[in-house]
Symmetry: C2
Subunit: 333 residues, 2 copies
């Protein structure tokens, strides 16, 4: 019920809502209204209370409450109902939480959000620093009836959707995608995506897309060894970025792109990935299980593979590996 | 210890092994020898016991005891030690058992075997009849450091390895592979493969290859609705096929092909698949999530996709779906 009262407060803001009126609109007692105001205050909402005039919302906390996220959403699959959004103050990792829900049969579009991850996971078994309310740590459950081969395309699609969401929410930031799915700002990583899946050889059972965005993290929030290579949206934009708005934008962009993927296949997403990428045309090294390859990234194949051309003109395509971009000159902008 | 005594009995067979000699060789009491002989008899070994001459092995049961399987193996990865073979009289499904072991960190090459499955699984959530000691129900755990895109190739490779093992163990049977991984004898299915995997978008965590072969099943062992479309090796060859020998052959062929895959990539396996396949060049229909396609199967792509050419010469490739072969004339051989 407290979310309903919050809605009334928001609609009335910046004016006051009297306890009597709220009680009448919701058909509850004035004591019940007061108790729920207390609950909202405990959740971080700054609500002024005046004996004569009633209650007034002064400030909402930038916490990822499902009711707040849903307010900005017009999605048809992902987080299509507030009940599909599972919000936690602290978890081990949102991917792990969501995997358990997936195994228990959670529907497509279920989203796990956390203010803080204690065991945030990156690709290849690495950890991901995820301090309280400093970033967006979220995982999305999808169940497309496609082959596991499409997982790479869904990862690329997620990177593009996230880049677009950042550009919309925090202009003038324009993240570039480093193959396959790292988002960089001025050469530093601000977002990583960890996709995990369960499948038969030719049929996905489910796929979990874990997105980690460093939103309002300071330099000191990063582990020392990452301070040179990592950054956050606020560090680059010079201002605090609203997390609720960003989270809604990510979910909305993902929903749009994913529905297009279901209808028209991966090509539109791959084309868009190319527009946002900063890998193609660059000198790169690629670290793979079987060695390090150097050359120029020349193309993206339709299965999401990166094509690298070495100095002898020989092309090879890679489905996995870690790209390092070789700067042609000192980055100054 | 009973396996050591069995080994002595086998080495001595068809002659007798005295209790005294066995006790001496194993440095145990004659009572211990006798107790272990009892245990072997309980496990199905027919052992003659003569007060004067000792013990003599008359017949081994065709059960899939790890000690029996290992005897025929010279593998370097799959079931490379008897301790990697997990044998069960009855399980729900060997894939499920092995998945639990995989999650607990079981090493590559672990194999789950069962005499009977109560919830045997086929592709696409179907069930698979797996009566006691009538077939080979086994699952193999692999952990190759490759992209999940390779799962399809590992499935194709498994189908070929199994076909070769059947041809070697039960000549003159020559199974043909229906894309992607069903083995047919005279148009009827004798073996299915269910591959399940866990992965990141570009890195397999593990893959489980579940192989089900109808070995010595009679018509009445199949569910009524499958009696026309399913068959067993013994029904087609007219004799009982030794399961232990077949199981060892499957593991050996898989080990050989898998090591080649790790060293040289999927191409050799794809070429061999083509030699054993009965899909390419045939008129087929393919049932997919998005509809039914008809045409001629013309090629296998390097990612394991099937290329179908319709009557207008238009080619389309498919990673998933269910093939039906359209007989051009009545099958008579």
């Amino acid at each position: 019920m407290h979310w309903k009262i919050l809605q009334l407060l928001k609609n009335r803001s910046p004016a006051y809502l009297s306890g009597e009126e709220a009680a009448g609109l919701l058909a509850v007692s004035r004591t019940a209204v007061w108790k729920n105001i207390k609950l909202l205050q405990k959740k971080g909402y700054r609500i002024e209370s005046s004996t004569r005039r009633g209650y007034r919302l002064l400030e909402s906390p930038d916490l990822l409450y499902p009711a707040e996220i849903s307010e900005h959403l017009a999605t048809s699959l992902i987080a299509a109902a507030p009940s599909l959004i599972k919000h936690h103050a602290q978890v081990g990792s949102t991917n792990t939480i969501l995997k358990e829900l997936a195994e228990d049969g959670a529907p497509e579009g279920t989203v796990a959000l956390a203010e803080e991850q204690k065991q945030g996971k990156g690709r290849l078994g690495r950890s991901w620093a995820s301090p309280f309310a400093k970033g967006l740590w979220l995982s999305i459950l999808l169940r497309p009836a496609v082959a596991p081969q499409e997982a790479q395309n869904l990862t690329l699609l997620s990177a593009t959707a996230t880049a677009k969401a950042i550009a919309k929410t925090a202009p003038p930031l324009q993240p570039g995608i480093k193959w396959p799915n790292d988002l960089l700002l001025k050469g530093r990583k601000c977002c990583g995506i960890l996709t995990e899946l369960k499948a038969e050889a030719d049929l996905l059972h489910y796929i979990i897309i874990g997105v980690g965005i460093n939103v309002n993290a300071d330099k000191k929030d990063f582990p020392e060894e990452l301070r040179e290579s990592a950054t956050s949206l606020s560090l680059e934009s010079g201002g605090v970025v609203p997390r609720v708005k960003l989270c809604s934008a990510v979910l909305q962009e993902l929903d749009d792109s994913y529905r297009e993927f279901l209808l028209h296949g991966p090509e539109p997403a791959l084309e868009e990935w190319k527009r946002w990428n900063i890998t193609l045309g660059k000198r790169v090294t690629l670290k793979t299980m079987s060695g390090i390859f150097a050359g120029t990234a020349v193309d993206l194949e339709k299965n999401g593979a990166l094509v690298i051309e070495d100095d002898f003109g020989h092309q090879q395509s890679f489905l996995a590996g870690e790209v390092s971009l070789i700067p042609e000159r000192k980055i100054t902008n």
